[in-house]
């Protein structure tokens, strides 16, 4: 087990090195740190001096090592637009994205588990059929279309919910939160609902499939034979064992949600990390772009490593398969 953890961590570090190499090559080939630092109104001669002083004429690998060394200290360069360290900009945008993902995860849990269980218990009822049909069609609808449809109905036609920005936020220990104001919560509804529609069909199907499989097992048949109440068999005996695979997949899919926040945030003008990324592309803010790449890469690597290690604890075949 110990060896397995070490091997996974070495692999994670290696992946981070690859990501940082990609990031650095981008910065090296299309970024211009001198412009990021002093702007565009400086004579070429002065630029050359600054270039030399920053060590931009050093060989590639020397600069790359410097980049990695700085990155380890949390210094990912300077954002050209914000005139602030790139990491600081990203951290300031992170709460918005995280709150969106948290709200989405809550919606996912609250909707997909009851819907999946219902569809598994009554597979032939018309309601289950509707749920399954909707989830089939739902897979084919891109998230930005769902978002636009929601905006059109609830903001433009009915004028019930806001469609733009985060609304009023309160600052709690440096965390800009929209969870504690009525306005902030109202702004959160449409983005989180549309973000959850990406995963909802998948999760309903997953919960349903797992539940149906478990309802066929021997111990459930035994529970019926004992004459237990239906609710007890469904929700205590069967549901408990449905949960384990669902939770594992949930962890992995949560990472994928982060990717889709880019789309949702750009529809709703939600000022989180994804929105910042699109802005950075439009402003050619290379340092910020690279910093985002490294941060998101790190998030994925950490999630994957943790999930793998947890899985290694739960399922011994995983850690043995890797051993040669």
């Amino acid at each position: 087990m110990f060896a397995f953890i070490i091997r996974r961590i070495i692999q994670a570090v290696f992946v981070m090195l690859v990501i940082s190499l990609v990031g650095f090559s981008i910065q090296h080939s299309i970024g211009d740190p001198v412009r990021d630092l002093v702007g565009e109104r400086v004579t070429p001669a002065e630029r050359a001096v600054i270039r030399d002083r920053l060590g931009l004429n050093d060989p590639f690998y020397v600069q790359y090592f410097r980049f990695v060394k700085n990155a380890c200290k949390g210094d990912l360069g300077l954002s050209f637009f914000y005139k602030k360290p790139a990491l600081e900009v990203i951290v300031s945008k992170a709460p918005a994205t995280l709150e969106l993902v948290i709200a989405t995860a809550l919606i996912l849990i609250v909707v997909s588990i009851p819907a999946g269980i219902y569809a598994a218990i009554y597979p032939k009822s018309w309601l289950s059929r509707i749920v399954m049909a909707v989830s089939t069609v739902g897979v084919a609808i891109p998230v930005f279309l769902t978002a636009i449809a929601l905006i059109y109905f609830f903001s433009v036609e009915l004028n019930w919910l806001p469609s733009y920005g985060r609304g009023e936020t309160v600052n709690i220990w440096g965390w800009e939160s929209g969870f504690f104001t009525w306005d902030g919560l109202k702004h959160l509804i449409l983005p989180s609902v549309s973000l959850s529609t990406i995963m909802l069909p998948l999760f309903i199907r997953l919960v349903r499939a797992e539940m149906m499989e478990i309802l066929e097992t021997e111990y459930i048949k035994f529970a019926w034979a004992k004459g237990l109440r239906r609710e007890r068999v469904w929700f205590v005996h069967a549901f408990k064992n449905t949960l384990l695979p669902v939770i594992t997949i949930f962890g992995v899919e949560l990472g994928i949600l982060v990717a889709f926040t880019i789309l949702t945030e750009s529809v709703f003008n939600w000022h989180g990390m994804g929105f910042m990324f699109i802005e950075a592309v439009e402003r050619s803010d290379t340092s910020l772009l690279v910093a985002y790449l490294v941060v998101v890469g790190a998030i994925f690597v950490v999630i994957n490593t943790v999930v793998d290690i947890v899985y290694g604890f739960v399922n011994p075949t995983v850690r043995i398969a890797g051993r040669k």
């Binding site: 059109y152 789309l263 529809v267």
Partner: protein, 305 residues
């Protein structure tokens, strides 16, 4: 028995006839594909010819609404282009990118999968490690990053000229590990079978064994995967275009049309977003349904969830 006869008597065709959803999806897909191939002939207005566009026609609603114009059945977009024609051209662009990207990623992935599976050892470990690394990051993130970087590297003007081939490459690059894994798995299953052994014994070269003997036996899962990947690629393209990282508005795909219409949804011009959106969803839906059907038919052992 000729090929057509054989096809008519096959299990695949028999199953197809039994399944109304498969028949329906296939017909819709066929119509969409034929329309987009014949696009320059069938469109009512040639929207690529800027001389025919009049900005005064901009934001005309569909014909059945007030202020509708008989000339423009589904109305016009913000630049005064006929929406129906623009959509047909958009579907064509989306399809070209979707199919092109799938061909590209299939080529790349099959090559890697064959090499890794057949030769094994260090090469296998190396190639699969790369695939693992890329697989651990969602493909959409990879696609968004690469197109953002290409856009910055080329500059906006050059990007708009090169968008179509670049998008094919970007979307292809972001999804190849799926093919590599599928093909490698089936190669590992095939390579120790007797017919491969026999081929090796009579002295056929490695490459010939890979291409003529093993490759044909890995194609069933590749076919199933490809159907679903076309839908995925079209969806990725739409997402990229919607973010402004895809096709420019002068040669719009369905995604860029939706993006351009979105800005006008607050003023009530819903049709610019609605019709391209519906077309996109219909296309993706029929491809996914066909893919599901194909998977069930070709792989009956698979659990139908």
């Amino acid at each position: 028995m000729n090929t057509w006869q054989r096809f008519k008597n096959s299990y695949l065709f028999y199953n197809f006839k039994q399944d109304p959803i498969a028949i329906g999806s296939f017909c819709v897909l066929l119509v969409l594909v034929v329309i987009s191939i014949l696009a320059p002939v069938v469109v009512p207005h040639d929207t690529y010819d800027t001389a025919t566009i009049d900005i005064m026609d901009a934001e005309t609603p569909p014909v059945w609404m007030e202020d509708g114009n008989e000339n423009f059945m589904l109305g016009t977009d913000i630049q005064g282009r006929d929406l129906l024609s623009t959509m047909i051209f958009g579907l064509r662009v989306s399809l070209i990118i979707g199919v092109g990207a799938v061909l590209f990623q299939a080529f790349l992935g099959i090559l890697v999968g064959l090499l890794a599976g057949y030769f094994g050892g260090k090469l296998d470990a190396f190639l699969m490690r790369i695939a693992d690394i890329q697989f651990s990051i969602p493909y959409l993130i990879v696609a968004i990053f690469t197109s953002a970087i290409f856009k910055l590297a080329f500059g906006v003007g050059r990007w708009e000229e090169l968008a179509l081939p670049l998008l094919i490459i970007i979307i292809g690059m972001s999804e190849w590990p799926k093919y590599a894994r599928t093909v490698r798995a089936s190669v590992l299953g095939e390579k120790n079978k007797e017919y491969v052994e026999a081929a090796r014994v009579i002295g056929i070269s490695g490459w010939r064994i890979i291409l003529r003997h093993i490759l044909p036996n890995t194609l069933t899962p590749v076919l199933v995967l490809s159907t679903i990947q076309v839908a995925n690629a079209v969806m990725s393209e739409a997402a990229l275009s919607f973010l402004g990282l895809g096709m420019p508005i002068t040669k719009p795909s369905l995604g860029s049309l939706i993006r351009s219409g979105f800005e006008y949804i607050f003023s009530g011009s819903w049709w610019i977003t609605f019709f391209p959106g519906v077309l996109l969803v219909i296309f993706i839906l029929v491809v996914l349904l066909l893919g599901d059907w194909l998977r069930d038919v070709l792989n009956p052992k698979l659990y139908k969830g």
